[in-house]
Assembly symmetry: C2
DNA sequence: AAACAGATGCAACTTTGTTGCAAAATAAAT
DNA sequence: ATTTATTTTGCAACAAAGTTGCATCTGTTT
């Protein structure tokens, strides 16, 4: 685990620091997406707010994580898969937000559909966010 | 025009006030979506910030406008079509954000596709946001 | 181990959004 | 047309979210 984390950082030419390791751990420890606030809380407020912001920005720019637009316009982040590199992301999967438990997950197995745009429009990226009830919550 | 605006407000049992008329005008005057900031600027800061917030909230709750989640997590609003009523929206169209000019528009003629979710997931709403170059900007 | 580059924490600040309350504007009733 | 009741507005104060500059500290390189 620790090794995997160090690998990720090295591969992206980032120095290995406490905050970066801890925040990456959080992402690896759980399947869903995290909000900035989640991260602050779950690191036990050990790091400065500013540090968390900057760490997330660096991860974003390196393509380690990607951001997810949600219906209520809060910012969520989730780990990218290996194919993502600096600059362009390939997070071409669907995001799912559970209305009941509030969790957001990447449905990696569901790829975003092809969208036919009107004449003249050119698409570079497509974001699909599905709201509803997740596996666990739709049982009740 | 003024009549159309008064109609909309009356139909939704809202009193006709300066800020509501002016903000509706803005939406009717142009095809794209507006951010809160746009609205403040384009009303010439004539109304208090709080008033703009509250007006948008009322319009949202009445189904006069809908909000659009964007990749950079700013909040955008756009007019709903007639079929939208208090409570449930039918804004089941695709939103397009131009990377060049920054404008966001509703592609009313492009409906959101059917998404096949994994077992156990139930969807209640699907948001599709396409980034790229709009008609005007893709010419260059 | 020293020197350098980069990351962190702090303070201060900006922007964005919210709440309570008194004053003003709108709608309804006489 | 004037009064009354109801909404809406603006203000002030606040809370939350995000940014910037700078001095200090940590990680990396030689």
């Amino acid at each position: 685990m620790q090794e995997a984390i160090q690998d990720i950082l090295k591969k992206n030419q980032l120095s290995i620091t406490g905050s970066r390791v801890k925040i990456l751990e959080l992402f690896l420890d759980q399947p869903g997406a995290l909000a900035h606030g989640d991260i602050e809380r779950r690191t036990g407020e050990k790091f400065d707010r500013v540090t968390v912001y900057r760490t997330l920005q660096v991860f974003l720019s390196k393509g380690i994580i990607h951001s997810i637009p949600t219906a209520d316009n809060s910012v969520l982040y989730a780990l990218c898969k290996d194919e993502c590199g600096e600059g362009h992301h390939h997070d071409n999967h669907v995001h799912f937000v559970c209305d009941k438990c509030g969790n957001t997950v990447c449905l990696d197995e569901v790829t975003v559909p092809v969208i036919r745009l009107p004449r003249g429009y050119k698409s570079s990226q497509i974001q699909v966010v599905v709201n509803g009830k997740c596996k666990a919550c739709s049982r009740d």
